[in-house]
């Protein structure tokens, strides 16, 4: 569903991401982890069509994000780490606008369902300016889910969410993946990645250090022992990159 081949991103003299190649098949959840400055957000933003790649090919559902951006973006949802809403629009107006962008016919029922799922029904007519950080995050997620995307990119999705919100989001991610969506989650919360993701993509200084299943990641560093957590694996790989 998501395919990245030889992706490179440079800013003048700085090479932010170099030669990245990976794929996210439909129905899988991939955790994108790495220290600050590893190139995670840059990769997600390039996949979302926000920034163009310097080199390489990035595609969503077979559509190249540079050559055929409209088709690729129509199948994609991106939830950034800092949810930015239109201050003067209400929650419902955000959903209404999103439905018209992605041409979702008769979106009302699905929008109502999402508002109920994320406990936003009471805030339906509240303007975004008056929402808390967590609620803004929930609105951004509802907007992202509205058009039933085939690929979903999350950048630090749990920031600001309350425990119930976290649980709802986790469940919704599993549901979406089970329904066939390809999901990528970038996060520093390794517990979340271990809990939710089937596969791991570990980046460090713009390069891929590891990609594969989480079990494979643990097996790769057998010297850490059978009880090693993802955190142990992370530190081992990033502090001694080969």
């Amino acid at each position: 569903m998501i395919r990245v081949e030889g992706y490179e991103k440079s800013y003048r003299e700085t090479l932010a991401v170099r030669g990245l190649t990976f794929g996210v098949p439909a129905g899988s959840i991939v955790g994108l982890v790495g220290p600050n400055g590893a190139g995670k957000t840059t990769t997600l933003r390039a996949l979302a069509g926000i920034i163009p790649p310097t080199r390489g090919r990035l595609s969503v559902a077979g559509h190249d994000i540079v050559q055929d951006p409209i088709a690729a973006k129509s199948r994609l949802a991106f939830i950034p780490d800092d949810p930015q809403l239109f201050d003067v629009l209400t929650v419902w107006e955000h959903l209404d606008f999103t439905a018209s962008v992605y041409r979702v016919p008769e979106f009302e029922a699905e929008a109502e369902r999402l508002l109920t799922q994320f406990e936003l029904t009471e805030k339906r007519d509240t303007i975004a300016q008056e929402l808390s950080r967590g609620m803004r995050q929930k609105v951004a997620i509802c907007c992202a889910y509205l058009h039933q995307p085939e690929a979903i990119l999350f950048d630090e999705p749990l920031t600001g969410l309350d425990p119930r919100g976290i649980r709802t989001l986790k469940e919704s991610i599993r549901e979406r993946a089970a329904a066939g969506a390809a999901v990528m989650i970038s996060s520093h919360l390794l517990d979340l990645i271990e809990d939710l993701c089937s596969h791991l993509l570990l980046m460090h200084r713009g390069q891929c250090l590891f990609q594969g299943s989480i079990t494979e990641a643990k097996n790769k560093l057998a010297e850490l022992g059978a009880d090693a957590s993802l955190e142990d694996v992370f530190f081992q790989m990033t502090e001694n990159p080969t």
Binding site: I50, P52, V101, I127
Partner: protein, 547 residues
């Protein structure tokens, strides 16, 4: 053509803006603020209309004024366009808010849809300004409608030209060599500096019309103003035929620029995003450090600039030190502005003194006026530090020490620069050296008063910097109301100083003027300190502030 969802977004934003306006009208404070801005708008429109209509009833005088306007309009447009290109390139023209980036960039829109969306958003401002300009110049126009259409086409041209220059610059930044860019930048700067110097030296007086005519008659001016002449001829056309001809030319120019913008915009998507992010970061910086810090962020190079730690002084010292260090490292533009202000004020003083050597006070007054205006601008930039106030309140220092420390940092920088400037002027105007020394001394309490009043109003009515929504009359009204309040307080304070100066002016004695003036200013400053302390103490950073 244009995506229906973007029409919907524009419509929803307008609806949201008016919803906010309606809600604000339901509170007394909101109603006062909205009423105030409406009153000011009515006053602005009314006065422009009447000034335009009633300024002179004689037809000869009107014809002369129209000729004069035609002469200076091309220069005015050139100056405005240059200013727009220098100071708003890449920001005002292609700025996407962070919410627009989050929602619109990953959405299935073509890039030209987004550009059209931005252009449509600017239409409201262009129409509003065109209406105001056409009302103001109505007496010199053959029809009000032609003036309004002409102004709208001209403003559209400036908008599109600025946008294209911005795109070219972004593409150049991404693709061309840094040395080439620097050489090009310096060459243009030197050329402009020479042209401006020629213009100032050749002008018979310092007023706008004289400067404009002097520039128009210079070699560089003739070439530079030629493209702008068509706009002047269109707006101030004498009949319908000449208007239609000029407007047709301008329309072709506008459409060409629009086509170029669509073409170039595809190359500069990433740069537009970078600009948007930069602006969002600036607004965040302004929230925590003050509006002035929008214009620079610390880098490892500036981290080398250090100030020795100041004594504790009951807590004032560390705050002053922090302010000075932050200014030194993040506000490089502050020093550019201060340096530029000194050059401008000095140049103006020398020019006026050369033209009218018999009246040194006029020359000194012009220079001092520029410096006071700069103080005023910098004091306004101290707003919006809501997050910083939260931090300051957490410090184990007395509120009086914090407010004094906060003020003295800015007052110190500003007064030192102004003081040095006034002392330098003594060399140019030795006959009034005594008065200039007094001005250098007076700068300290005067800046304290100016900055103190700004801080006092901010602590009482804190506002966050935000990009205004359409129809956000409350925000505009609030800003204007605060400005009015500030001017009122300042006027009250300075009136007392003016009274104190009278004996000195009567006996032409700088000392007799300065001593009571300083005494009154010091009393006013001393009175302001407890008020500031009280306002700081009652400030609640947890209360969500509008704006």
């Amino acid at each position: 053509m244009f995506h229906s969802a973007l029409w919907k977004l524009i419509r929803l934003k307008w609806r949201g803006g008016f919803r906010q306006l309606w809600r604000s009208l339901k509170t007394v404070r909101g109603a006062v603020q909205v009423g105030f801005i409406l009153l000011m708008m009515a006053y602005g429109f009314g006065s422009m209309f009447f000034v335009g209509r009633m300024s002179s009833s004689a037809p000869e005088a009107t014809a002369m004024m129209t000729d004069r306007l035609r002469d200076v309009a091309a220069f005015g447009l050139f100056a405005f366009t240059t200013w727009a290109m220098l100071f708003s390139t890449g920001e005002a023209t292609v700025y996407f808010t962070s919410s627009e980036v989050a929602f619109l960039f990953p959405a299935p829109f073509q890039r030209r849809h987004l550009l059209t969306y931005k252009l449509l958003q600017s239409c409201f401002g262009i129409l509003f300004l065109s209406l105001m300009l056409s009302l103001y110049f109505s007496r010199s126009l053959f029809s009000w409608l032609s003036g309004c259409v002409g102004a709208a086409l001209t403003l559209t041209f400036i908008q599109l030209l600025t946008m294209n220059v911005s795109f070219v610059r972004q593409v150049m930044e991404a693709k061309s060599d840094a040395l080439f860019r620097r050489v090009l930048g310096y060459s243009v700067s030197v050329w402009v500096l020479i042209a401006v110097t020629q213009m100032v030296l050749n002008a018979p007086s310092g007023d706008f019309a004289a400067l404009a005519l002097s520039f128009r008659d210079s070699t560089a001016g003739r070439w530079l103003l030629a493209p702008f002449d068509v706009f002047a001829r269109m707006i101030f056309a004498s009949d319908a035929a000449s208007f239609v001809f000029s407007a047709g030319l301008v329309l072709v120019l506008d459409l060409s620029l629009l086509a170029a913008a669509y073409r170039l915009d595809g190359l500069s998507l990433e740069a537009a995003l970078a600009i948007s992010e930069k602006l969002t970061a600036r607004i965040k910086r302004a929230h925590s450090k003050g509006a002035w810090h929008m214009f620079g962020s610390p880098t490892s190079q500036v981290a080398r600039r250090k100030i020795r730690r100041l004594p504790f002084w009951n807590g004032i010292g560390p705050i002053v030190w922090q302010r000075l260090t932050t200014n030194l490292r993040t506000s490089l533009k502050l020093f550019w502005v201060l340096g530029g202000a000194v050059l401008l004020a000095g140049g103006l003083t020398i020019t006026i003194h050369r033209k009218a050597p018999e009246n040194p006070f006029a020359a000194a007054g012009a220079g001092i006026g520029v410096m006071i205006y700069v103080s005023f601008l910098i004091s306004v930039s101290m707003q919006n530090e809501i997050e910083r106030v939260g931090y300051l309140k957490s410090l184990p220092l007395r509120p009086i020490a914090i407010v004094l420390g906060e003020l003295l940092g800015f007052v110190g920088i500003m007064s030192t620069v102004q003081g040095l400037f006034f002392l330098m002027l003594c060399g140019v105007l030795p006959s009034i050296a005594g008065w200039l020394v007094c001005a250098a001394v007076l700068a300290w309490p005067l800046n304290f008063l100016l900055f103190g009043i700004e801080k006092f109003i901010f602590y009482l009515y804190p506002t966050r910097m935000a990009k205004g929504a359409p129809g956000d009359f409350q925000n505009a009204g609030r800003q204007m109301l605060f400005m009015f309040l500030k001017m009122l307080l300042l006027f009250g304070g300075l009136s007392l100083v003016g009274v104190a100066v009278i004996p000195g002016a009567m006996y032409r004695s700088p000392l007799l003027a300065a001593i009571p003036a300083i005494a009154v200013l010091l009393i006013e400053c001393a009175g302001l300190v407890p008020l500031l302390t009280y306002a700081f103490h009652r400030f609640d950073p947890s209360v969500d502030t509008p704006g």
